[in-house]
């Protein structure tokens, strides 16, 4: 008799409460969602990698030639009977344009975010935020066309040449990544606790000192992420850049000479090649390089972010 009640009691105690069941349920669901995303990421990365590696394994292109070669004509074989798949011009082009546009956009974006968050939250919320959100939705084709009809002629008038080139590409990308970087920077600033500011102001620091020495410092990792995201967008952007950079697989010898990026060559060429052929695989190799390059970027920024964090 007595043992039975203890058993019942034990069971009652061991049984999950409703809240605990909900907890397990919620945890499982959110974990499933994450695993789904991981599966998607692995699938796409695996897909690009398997296609991109085929250039080297089944078409026997030398990896060194691919990374350092300067002429890109997958249709043609050179004197040694090897296809001309030198990706260096595109790699350099992508790097230059991404870094330049990030350098130009970062001060503007962070400045605007600081303004929105610290100086005039009212105007920020009323004007700046809606406008930036709106701009994210403009399709890249439209950016490209504005670039073509406004930026390229302006560049041509000021610097000569044809107007197509890295400089025009940078101008267009600068505007394109500005909204993304700005709104993400604003989020990063928002996550700095209020009492940081209060403490700093109470110590007699001016508003600028507070912003510069406390808020920006505390938000550094978040700001870094914002910049990485902007660079990621600049990196992966194809249609708009393709319209203003000139898209010539040549080493960029100045900022106003036509050159190309990995994405622009990839998008122009992919519909004109046949799946599984060398020409097609070579383009997938460009996509793979793109992946690896953004991996490197990510790691670098992560390192900086770790160092810049407030102690």
């Amino acid at each position: 008799m007595k043992t039975k009640t203890t058993q019942q009691l034990e069971q009652q105690l061991k049984r999950h409460s409703k809240a605990a069941k909900l907890e397990i349920w919620g945890r499982t669901i959110s974990l499933t969602a994450l695993l789904l995303i991981v599966a998607v990421v692995v699938a796409i990365i695996g897909f690009v990698a398997s296609k991109g590696i085929a250039t080297f394994t089944s078409n026997h292109v030398n990896l060194g030639d691919f990374l350092t070669g300067k002429s890109w004509n997958p249709n043609i074989t050179d004197a040694n009977g090897k296809p001309e798949v030198g990706a260096l011009p595109m790699i350099v082009g992508s790097f230059l344009i991404t870094i330049l546009s990030a350098i130009v956009a970062t001060p503007f974006a962070i400045g605007t975010a600081v303004f929105m968050n610290e100086i005039s939250p009212n105007k920020g919320a009323k004007i700046l935020q809606p406008v930036t959100e709106l701009l994210v939705g403009i399709p890249s084709v439209v950016y490209g066309f504005i670039g073509l009809s406004v930026v390229v002629p302006t560049t041509r008038a000021i610097f000569g040449g044809s107007g197509f080139g890295i400089l025009s590409g940078t101008c267009v990308l600068f505007v394109m990544i500005l909204p993304t970087v700005t709104s993400m920077s604003a989020d990063a600033l928002k996550s700095v606790p209020r009492y940081y500011r209060e403490a700093s102001l109470a110590l007699g620091a001016t508003q600028w000192q507070t912003i510069y020495k406390v808020v920006l410092r505390a938000a550094t990792p978040g700001l870094m992420t914002a910049v990485v995201f902007g660079m990621a967008r600049a990196f992966g952007e194809a249609l708009a850049v393709q319209m203003v950079i000139g898209n010539a697989a040549l080493m960029p010898n100045s900022l106003v000479s036509p050159s190309s990026t990995l994405t622009s060559v990839l998008t122009t060429g992919i519909g004109n090649t046949v799946m599984g052929s060398l020409q097609n695989n070579a383009l997938w190799s460009l996509a793979l390089v793109l992946l690896l390059m953004s991996l490197v970027f990510n790691l670098i920024i992560r390192l900086i972010g770790r160092k810049g964090r407030l102690q």
Partner: protein
């Protein structure tokens, strides 16, 4: 008093930067609207597109854009929300979590044409979904997930730790704390993320060219039975969206009024996003009030 002067200069510079940014953005919007608004008319907004004659509209494309956006969001938002909750609230801060975060960030830097081609080979060809809204919605989900997950995670980060501790101290389980305390408080910020990614989805072309297709068969707007091929609701029909339409007429369009249609469509796109923003903001405000009973 040097630091005061410095302060003034710095604040002034910030005003200048913000003003300049607003100026750039307004100039852009002004340019698009000024060249596009004169093209707009009821006919333009409702008529089907013409292949090579002048006088076509964008009615079907406009509907497709919204339908595809809603479908893609319906698929990707719950997944992104769940993943973000797990990443921020549950996952331990170890190398696995870091690796997952890095992988998600890398995915977002892939050009959308790669996502589109992946979608083409996988959904359209392998799963035999054909060129359809469904294939397009899946491709957009792939494209959208990294961005959305990241931004929701950031929204969760903006909620003070005290809120979590408070919830737990009241004897709520972690999941209850998340759904009853954290999420309601994070609604406005999550909403911003959703609007931003919705804008990107709305303007995306390259990922859709190979999945949702670039032709828009005429629709019968009297037929709302999703199993009929000419019904607007049928998820298995090919659907060219507005952004794809702009891309298409700019690249191969031979209708005499291609330029006018293109600038008109751009203006429509901007206005649609504008309306979408307002609506989302309004809904978000009401939701925030109801959920937090503020």
């Amino acid at each position: 008093m040097d630091s005061k002067k410095q302060n003034k200069i710095a604040i002034g510079t910030l005003y200048g930067i913000a003003g300049l940014v607003v100026l750039i953005l307004l100039a852009l919007l002004g340019y698009i609207l000024a060249s596009g608004l004169p093209q707009l008319s009821w006919h333009f907004l409702t008529a089907p597109a013409k292949a090579f004659l002048k006088g076509g509209g964008v009615g079907v494309q406009l509907f497709n854009s919204f339908y595809l956006l809603i479908l893609a969001m319906a698929i990707s938002f719950p997944i992104a929300l769940g993943a973000a909750i797990y990443l921020y609230e549950y996952a331990r801060d170890n190398w696995i979590t870091t690796t997952i975060r890095t992988a998600i960030e890398i995915l977002s830097s892939l050009p959308s044409v790669v996502v589109g081609l992946f979608g083409f080979l996988f959904f359209v060809v392998k799963l035999r979904l054909g060129f359809s809204i469904l294939s397009g919605a899946f491709a957009l989900t792939f494209f959208n997930l990294p961005l959305l997950t990241r931004s929701i995670e950031d929204s969760l980060r903006t909620i003070d730790l005290e809120q979590r501790e408070g919830g737990l101290a009241l004897g709520l389980s972690r999941w209850e704390t998340i759904t009853r305390v954290i999420l309601p408080a994070a609604v406005p910020s999550i909403l911003t993320g959703v609007i931003l990614s919705a804008g990107r989805v709305f303007g995306e072309a390259a990922a859709l060219i190979y999945t949702a297709g670039q032709s828009a068969p005429a629709l019968n707007f009297a037929d709302w039975n999703p199993f009929n091929i000419s019904s607007p609701l049928n998820p298995m029909r090919p659907a060219e969206t507005l952004a794809v339409h702009i891309w298409k007429i700019n690249s191969e369009g031979i209708m005499p009024d291609a330029k006018a249609i293109s600038s008109g469509s751009s203006a429509v796109l901007i206005i649609a996003i504008l309306l979408f923003n307002f609506a989302a903001r309004y809904v978000g405000k009401r939701l925030y009030k109801r959920l937090t009973s503020a």
